[in-house]
Symmetry: C2
Subunit: 417 residues, 2 copies
Amino acid sequence: MFANRQTSDHVSDHSRTFGVHTDSRERVPLASTALDRWALERIQRMVMSAPIRFVLWDGFELASLAGPAVATIRFKSRRALAGWVWDPELNFGEAYMSGGVEIRGDLVPLLEAVYRALGVSRRRAWWLWQRSNGARAARENVHRHYDLGNDFYRLWLDREMLYTCAYFPAPDATLEDAQLAKMDLVCRKLRLAPGERVIEAGCGWGSFALFMARRYGVTVRAFNISSEQVAYARDRAKAEGLVGRVEFVEDDYRNVRGAYDVFVSLGMLEHVGLPDYPTLGDVINRSLVRRGRGLLHFIGRNQPAPLNAWIRKRIFPGAYPPALREVFERVLEPHAFSVIDVENLRLHYAKTLEHWRRRFDGAAGTVAAMFDQRFLRAWELYLAGSQAAFTTGSMQLFQVLFARGDSNDVPWTRVSG
Amino acid sequence: MFANRQTSDHVSDHSRTFGVHTDSRERVPLASTALDRWALERIQRMVMSAPIRFVLWDGFELASLAGPAVATIRFKSRRALAGWVWDPELNFGEAYMSGGVEIRGDLVPLLEAVYRALGVSRRRAWWLWQRSNGARAARENVHRHYDLGNDFYRLWLDREMLYTCAYFPAPDATLEDAQLAKMDLVCRKLRLAPGERVIEAGCGWGSFALFMARRYGVTVRAFNISSEQVAYARDRAKAEGLVGRVEFVEDDYRNVRGAYDVFVSLGMLEHVGLPDYPTLGDVINRSLVRRGRGLLHFIGRNQPAPLNAWIRKRIFPGAYPPALREVFERVLEPHAFSVIDVENLRLHYAKTLEHWRRRFDGAAGTVAAMFDQRFLRAWELYLAGSQAAFTTGSMQLFQVLFARGDSNDVPWTRVSG
């Protein structure tokens, strides 16, 4: 399909072509000009160490500068090319989503190569201006992602509908087992005891709240601002006869009231945003009794950096994966909470995403029918990009166990999976 | 011995009186005045919630305001009293050391009560002006503490002469076993493999370097600027036939050169000081190969705060126990190191100090003969104060495992003791 003027390396026939012909504005593009070719070289130079072949709409090609290409990127229009030169971080995703760019080869190795290439050259200012995710903005942000329909998520999540990093006791464990192992690991880290009161901030479809009540005999109040998820969770609590022990509250974490033994939050901190970390710290502080302890499970970074602009625009508005020290400084330190134990599960998230992607790809036709091609391609890119971010170390998954600074009711030795 | 005007609670006969009569300037103090009594009340109010009885030289007494007293503090002179009012943080230690203050009751419960009482009321500015511990200053600081003589430390450390927090698999393990367990835990966290090259920064008497070589088959270059310790360590390496595999270098950590698989440092970071953290990060970064990893074991805090002024003056000049985020921000982040695993062993350090103190108290006569009463009292106070700091959560012990941010050669699951 692509002319191959400068190299002889062929993309394997087994590779999948994600591209579809939906770019409507330049159906018969003109032959590429010297300027177009200069632009393509500029793009190539940004990711020089990545083994990628670049092709223009008329067949002009730049071979990989770094050995056999893992993938080929084909610009189908001048518009797509110009977008990449102007703002590659945003328009890589935009062009892929719209079909203005076609990729031959698997997305994950391609994106891994891009991340690795950018990792060395891109030293960006760490500071990111971010608006506070006030209660209304938070609700809108969450609605856009989590209210896409339970039917959609059921297509590719595990049976328990957990949309956070799993814990694989061994790399070949099933996703279902790994999600159960994750929930159990968190409960053991927290040393939940029967009768204790747990507050969960951001409870997804409620599986973890129900798990804690069922397996560890605690009572749980679980907060979530996604109405679709809360409705689903309440139905499950009824079906399992746990209504008296698990209460699902459709409200913002800032409105948590009452006294609890344990504060736990899986995958919510990414949506809180730096400006509201002190508020989260205050909520935790006023919620926990003297011997209270808590666990924060969140996507983070080795260094502060903004989330990819396209992911923020299309997938997770208002999201920010923090460096550990940003959480420590703004959430835990003001109340002298003591960090008991931190575990980085980055490779477990890469594995989780591998499972999700396999199921998602298998359901691609259904997803396209539910939404459209643009949505399908956006989500393919988001899932592949996330997997690549975890395999290349561009993102981390931290579990942070903490307790009140003056409490000696902390574990003598730590648990492991 | 003390008049008891206001309460009837008596200090148990089992308690030890650490006080000795060495305050020479006011042998026959005048009766206390209204001003003296006002000063005593002011001191009492600073630690209002601590159950302590205060007594002046002429028998004037303030009973505990918080239930039965755990100890009695007796000021033997106006000078000692004035010093406490002027700068309690520094002069508590100075007066105890000189004998101007006498304490009836065990030091640890007394200091625990004081730390707990101060914890609530004392919200100090976190910022501490600190000079850089340049190579010369570092050498002087270390000489003052670690070159007190191997004979002195042999009196109260374990057989292996480890002067860092031990790891007690169970609280009733012996100190000898707990120090071996600590060394083994660190090696397992680092996944040392035979033939690997290890750099150790700050190696004490060399036990851990020898342990790594003997048990895990690695080669070690171990740096230390204490000449007494290095001489001792070299003798041990010879005696054990490990000279070819463990090299002890009497030099500053800043002069580490070469490429290593592992960087490890137990109990040195406290002596580095904030201004030199970036330098330490640079040393680690230039020392580690691509799949390199490291472990920092250090005394830290839940919130940034200066070390007690008296400890800095008399025991550890130039020392600073950091908050985790200060280490992350200044040592690890600049080179995008990835935090793999953090463990807080605070209660293990309290237990370690309990063992050290028991041995130290048993050797008190020998210590006084080696040095003098002032030295003995200063060290009694330092060890008791450290134990109280760990039991009350005023200090933490962190083990931080890290790896290069782009290395996937990280453990799939973590180890536990």
